[in-house]
């Protein structure tokens, strides 16, 4: 077949990739910046939303639930476009691609983290609440000292899953010209006509970063498991 013989005859040339490797690295740093900031804002905001959804009165619970469901059911790219193109019109403010990206993915991931937190909190045996209540602990102290420390440990795999998903989803920021790893790869590919090499290396860079993160979390889990703290008492 034509295509087959084309691939056999293809001469790989990675030199162009490595000539512009600093551009790819810059892209990776930008990807990590958006991902990191989205985690930094998204996790606490997710916890807040989860608590409002679980324990808030109707005035707080209903908007929190609506926001979570809305963010989970609309396409991330639509959210990104809304914050980048639509919101500035509505509010009359300037927003650059970086800010729009961080804003979008902080909110978007907060909705997913809210559900992870909620699931984790609800998975804790009611006996833990009762025991804390019986020694006179109030709800806030019980959450802080008893429920969340256990819930968070159980949530680590789900957290990791969401963080990886988030990092992959941030590739959408290239559509609003934020210079993340994918955007940089695309730029280099277009100027060198070496799409195959450039995108292969870019994919490998995503793989390495995410794989290292996975291993680190696995080690952490293993460590926590060994101290006997993960097992139910």
């Amino acid at each position: 077949m034509q295509a087959g013989s084309f691939i056999v005859g293809y001469e790989w040339d990675f030199s162009v990739v490595f000539r512009d490797f600093d551009l790819l690295l810059l892209g990776l740093v930008n990807t990590l910046k958006v991902t990191g900031l989205a985690l930094l804002f998204g996790i606490p905001l997710g916890l807040l939303l989860a608590l409002l959804r679980l324990y808030g009165n109707a005035v707080l619970r209903i908007p929190a639930s609506f926001l979570i469901e809305f963010l989970r059911t609309t396409p991330p790219i639509a959210q990104l476009f809304w914050f980048f193109f639509a919101m500035p019109i509505l509010l009359g403010v300037e927003i650059d691609p970086f800010e729009a990206s961080v804003l979008t993915f902080s909110l978007q991931s907060s909705a997913f983290f809210a559900e992870v937190f909620r699931g984790g909190i609800l998975s804790i045996d009611n006996g833990q609440w009762e025991a804390a209540k019986a020694i006179g602990m109030n709800r806030n102290d019980t959450l802080r000292r008893v429920i969340l420390p256990q819930a968070v440990k159980r949530m680590i795999p789900a957290f990791l899953e969401r963080a990886i998903e988030l990092m992959k989803t941030t590739t959408l920021v290239s559509t609003i010209s934020y210079a993340d790893l994918l955007y940089q790869a695309n730029t280099i590919a277009q100027s060198t006509y070496r799409s195959l090499e450039v995108f292969t290396v870019a994919a490998a860079m995503y793989f390495v970063v995410i794989f290292i993160c996975s291993l680190a979390v696995q080690r952490l889990e293993h460590h926590l498991g060994r101290t006997g703290e993960l097992t139910k008492g």
Partner: protein
């Protein structure tokens, strides 16, 4: 004799189900009261109303002469803050221990004094040491709950409740989840507490324990006290048919005495 706890005409219902139908009880300082009854008779609910794990539907709980809650036209109002304060003064031990699995034994015992009573580090440590020694588990202070036997876990749960230095202790079937060979050590700990003058309300199925340790035995049926009195009277010479049936059920199979030596 000072009255620690008084229960007046206590009712509790869950929806249409009436679990407690008017309980009156007076508990003096140092009393050990054992509550018996078939399952569904309301004995656990009675205990859970005393420390407001359940809010009574009507009636009154009086602790150290002071009624809990504020009387309103439509019943008694129980502010959550008052209830948390009250629970800190009433200890409770559950069937399923419910230790905090992410804390070691010492941290479990210190948690109440630390978070609720805001004791300083030295005082928390002193209490942990004192009450773990009392239940014979000072040597396990650094262990995690998952590394302990069921009996040891329950003794830690007792120490955790004692560390609050409560005015009364409630035991809700504290030995029911234990393997038979582990029941003795927990009952022994409870007996020591009774001997030291702790005021205790105990729900249990251990009739031998009730006979030996109780000052008074209550028999509950259908959310009411059917019969009460000293252990000899209720357990050996019961008057009510309900009590007799219950005791017959428990005494169907017995070991001959010499085997027990």
């Amino acid at each position: 004799m000072t009255e620690v706890l008084k229960i007046e005409n206590l009712h509790k219902s869950f929806g249409d189900l009436n679990v407690l139908n008017g309980i009156d009880l007076s508990v003096a300082k140092g009393d050990t009261i054992v509550i018996l009854g078939a399952s569904g008779s309301g004995k656990s609910t009675l205990l859970r109303c005393v420390n407001f794990m359940e809010i009574p539907s009507s009636g009154r709980i009086v602790l150290q002469g002071k009624p809990v809650g504020t009387e309103k036209a439509d019943g008694i109002n129980y502010p959550e803050k008052e209830l948390t304060g009250l629970r800190a003064r009433v200890g409770m031990v559950f069937q399923h221990f419910n230790l905090f699995p992410h804390m070691n034994v010492k941290q479990n015992v210190m948690e109440g004094p630390r978070t609720v009573l805001k004791c300083n580090q030295a005082e928390c440590a002193r209490r942990a040491e004192e009450y773990l020694d009392k239940v014979g588990l000072g040597w396990k202070a650094e262990a995690f709950p998952s590394q302990l036997s069921g009996g040891q876990q329950q003794r830690v749960a007792i120490a955790r409740a004692l560390a609050m230095e409560p005015e009364i202790m409630l035991f809700d079937e504290a030995t029911s989840a234990l393997d038979p060979e582990l029941v003795g050590e927990v009952l022994e700990t409870m007996k020591e507490l009774a001997d030291e003058g702790m005021t205790m309300l105990i729900v249990t199925h251990e009739l031998g324990f009730a006979y030996t340790v109780a000052d008074r035995v209550l028999f509950l049926a259908d959310g009411k006290i059917l019969e009460q009195g000293d252990p000899e009277k209720v357990l050996i010479h019961p008057q009510q048919e309900g009590t007799k049936n219950f005791l017959r059920g428990h005494g169907s199979f017995r070991l001959p005495e010499p085997v027990l030596d």
